[in-house]
């Protein structure tokens, strides 16, 4: 079986500052990975290399068996298989919710408008906001916007989802609705890599927790072991800070 993602000795620097140092990680189809670690440790950069929003300097990245290189065809192919949600949602403010969801299917997958709208409504129902379809993003709450962003990504029928701190820009009362949506997606068998500090969510959903610090993967363990019996000093320090 082809691995969903394989990162092999991946490194990246901004100028002389190394952000990723020799990252090795492989993700099985259907697997749920949670990445956590202190701010600035390279979590965002890591998941952004998976769909080439950031270019890696050395090492190799394979997604669904396709290698990420300068080959634009491979990049396009990988991007259409990998969905992504951002901390600040990044919905398109000039388009309605429905148009946000149909834009890529119509222009990338060349779906008909009718077909794209049917798919969009299906996923908007899945994230439980079909009634907002004709509104604009600015008319929705943060939690609703993030659910739309999830639906928008799903409309491309991705095989894998990347989440970069999907709840950290939300008011506390909205975190639950977004995590529940991601939870449901996980139950459907979606492969996921999720950067988050939501411990409850990680325990519930993750197959493995990856802890990063200073551009390195410090440890990778099942959530129960990770939270109850952290081995590394840096992990212990991070967890105790998170609890306080």
């Amino acid at each position: 079986m082809t691995e969903a993602v394989v990162l092999n000795n991946v490194s990246k620097s901004y100028g002389s500052f190394p952000v990723l140092k020799d990252i090795n990680l492989s993700v099985e189809p259907g697997e749920k990975i949670v990445i956590c670690g202190p701010s600035g440790s390279g979590k965002s950069t890591l998941i952004r290399t998976v769909n080439r929003l950031e270019k890696h300097d050395s090492g190799s990245i394979h997604v669904d068996g396709i290698e990420l290189s300068d080959d634009l065809k491979n990049i396009d192919q990988i991007r259409s298989r990998v969905g992504m949600c951002f901390q600040h949602f990044n919905l398109f403010p000039h388009l309605t919710i429905l148009q946000n969801c149909t834009l890529a299917p119509v222009h990338v997958l060349k779906a008909s408008r009718q077909e794209a709208e049917r798919t969009a409504m299906h996923y908007l129902e899945k994230v439980r906001i079909p009634e907002q379809a004709q509104k604009y993003p600015s008319q929705l709450s943060g939690g609703q916007q993030q659910r739309v962003a999830i639906a928008r990504a799903l409309c491309m029928k991705p095989r894998m989802m990347l989440f970069d701190e999907p709840t950290s820009a939300l008011d506390p009362e909205m975190i639950g609705e977004v995590l529940d949506t991601i939870d449901a997606l996980a139950k459907d068998g979606m492969t996921m890599i999720c950067v988050t500090h939501e411990m409850g969510f990680a325990s519930r959903v993750a197959d493995r927790v990856v802890f990063m610090d200073a551009g390195q993967i410090v440890e990778t363990r099942p959530p129960k072991e990770f939270f109850e019996d952290p081995r590394n000093e840096r992990t212990k320090k991070f967890l105790s800070q998170l609890l306080n």
Binding site: F86, H88, N90, L103, H107, Q139
Partner: protein, 228 residues
Amino acid sequence: MAFSFELFIEAMLTPAMIRGAGIALVLTVLVFVISFFACLPMALWLGSKKKLRNIAAKLYVWVFRAAPVILILLFVWNGTPQLFPALLKSSWFTPFVAATVSLVLITIAYMAEIMRSALSSVAPGQGEAAQALGLGRFQTFRLVVMPQALRIALPPMVNEFINVLKVTSLAYVISLREIMAVVNDSIAATFRFVEWYTAALVYYLIIVSLFMMLQGIVARRQSKADLA
């Protein structure tokens, strides 16, 4: 000599005057549309991290913002035939064409600045989200970044349109028969300054108002998305 309302109406309805207003309007729209498309690469170069492009674009903007409009008009009309004598014999190189070229050269410089600032105010996350969805670079620009930049650029663009309309009045120096050229000739023949200047003013007011109305319609269509 008191203001003669009759003469004012007569001035307004003179065929040469109506034609002059038509020329000013067509020239303005033409210059505006050509400059709009031509300013896009310039705007991207102005915001580019690539040194050579960035310097070339900045140099262009620097030159054409500093140069007086009349100088550019005369340069294009009198200067280019000196460099390319074939233009003297060509039938297409008319004052209208020379005015269009001159004003496009100048307007690009101003519009590129407007678009650069509008493009840079679109959040970088917008382009990233579009690319993550698989949209290509050109699709991302056309479908996601550009519509948002245009919304920001609309008010300064309307100003720019009005500026272009005003500077068409300088094209009389290369004997383009626009509004002010007609007015100057008529005054030389009649010495009725006030009536003719008023007629010219009214024409400019009409054209500007038309476009303010158009802006209003576009802005109203956009405002739905800007609620909250």
